[in-house]
């Protein structure tokens, strides 16, 4: 059977279109999740990424724990470095905790009603964050570099990501503070890449983006 040049060309065109289409379709749906304990700086980092590449912030931050109580998604973020491009949807999750006491919110000046509401929403937020683990393609675990990295919440999050074979990048945030220790975080998780940053001031943010490219392959 003789196959015409036009047919071969069309087949080739379809093949290239399919491969490239699949490639871009896959890229379009890459979800990068920000996980970690409350007040580690997940939303501050999300805001930094969004400000750097979209020119707008993603969510509100606060010194009071559990400010983020719902899953927030920012779609179609494209970052570039050294001629490479990475497109993803960024998922900011509520901080994962093992205890939530509304009285802790009252102690920082909230009314009883507002504190109870915040506590209730925060518990739901933790449940949602855990449920969403399965949806992630890559996870950035954001830890407060001034705090004890050996907390069981950190170990449980990372253990679950390891079991699900989800690539992980650990961020030791708040390295602008004197109490912060990148070494302590690195020694707690020696098998992972740990990058020390200050999401608030943008310190070392280039290394963070570079690590993200390495992780995404």
């Amino acid at each position: 059977m003789k196959v015409g040049g036009g047919v071969v060309f069309n087949l080739l065109k379809q093949f290239v279109k399919k491969v490239l289409g699949d490639l871009f379709a896959k890229k379009k749906h890459v979800k990068i999740g920000l996980y970690g304990p409350p007040n580690g700086g997940k939303t501050t980092l999300a805001n930094r990424i969004c400000k750097d590449w979209l020119g707008e912030e993603m969510g509100t931050v606060s010194n009071i724990a559990h400010e983020t109580r719902e899953i927030n998604i920012k779609e179609q973020i494209s970052i570039e470095s050294k001629g490479r491009q990475l497109s993803f949807n960024l998922v900011d999750t509520p901080g994962i905790a093992t205890k939530i006491d509304y009285e802790d919110f009252v102690k920082v000046g909230m009314s009883d009603t507002a504190a109870k509401k915040r506590a209730k929403e925060a518990t739901k937020g933790v449940i949602d964050a855990i449920k969403w683990l399965d949806e992630m393609d890559i996870v950035i675990v954001v830890l407060d570099g001034t705090k004890d990295p050996y907390s069981q919440v950190n170990i449980t999050i990372i253990g679950n990501l390891q079991a699900r074979k989800i690539p992980v990048l650990i961020i030791a945030n708040k390295i602008d503070l004197r109490k912060a220790s990148l070494k302590k975080v690195q020694s707690a998780f020696p098998q992972y890449s740990v990058v020390g940053i200050s999401a608030k001031y943008g310190k070392n943010i280039e290394e963070f983006y570079e690590s993200l490219f390495v992780l995404a392959g």
Partner: protein, 129 residues
């Protein structure tokens, strides 16, 4: 007074994941600190946190949790030996500590020691009852 309840691995070995979590949470909700021989799987630990969150109310504000697993970070032959032992015997190496957040304020841990910081006021209140 603080009550520590030891739970040998054999007591949870045959239970389902939900059964294990239920058993450990029920003890914790009686204001006791659980000392579990071994550890839960990581997905069970996540499920424990989820279930804890579902049950938080005025009287139960959550848990403090810590796991000491001395051989987890080993490499090479030691790691292989550890994994084989886990496969055969279950994850019974190490120790899991679960306490009610109303009594245990914080569990501090590094690879060599573990410290429980208790809420003295709550313990005194409980002792008076």
């Amino acid at each position: 007074m603080v009550t520590l309840q030891f739970v040998p691995y054999t007591e949870i070995e045959s239970l389902s994941s939900i059964g294990r979590i239920r058993k450990l949470l029920n003890i914790t909700k009686q204001n006791k600190i659980v000392l579990l021989q071994g550890r839960l799987r990581s997905d069970e630990e996540a499920e424990l946190i989820k279930t804890t969150m579902e049950e938080i109310n005025k009287d139960f504000t959550g848990i403090e949790l810590a796991v000491i697993s001395p051989h987890r970070d080993t490499t090479g032959v030691k790691k292989l030996k550890y994994n084989v032992m886990n496969m055969v015997l279950g994850d019974r190496q190490g120790l899991t500590i679960i306490g009610p957040a109303s009594l245990v304020k914080q569990i501090k841990k590094d690879p060599h020691k573990i410290e429980l910081f208790m809420d003295q006021k709550k313990i005194r209140k409980k002792g008076k009852r």
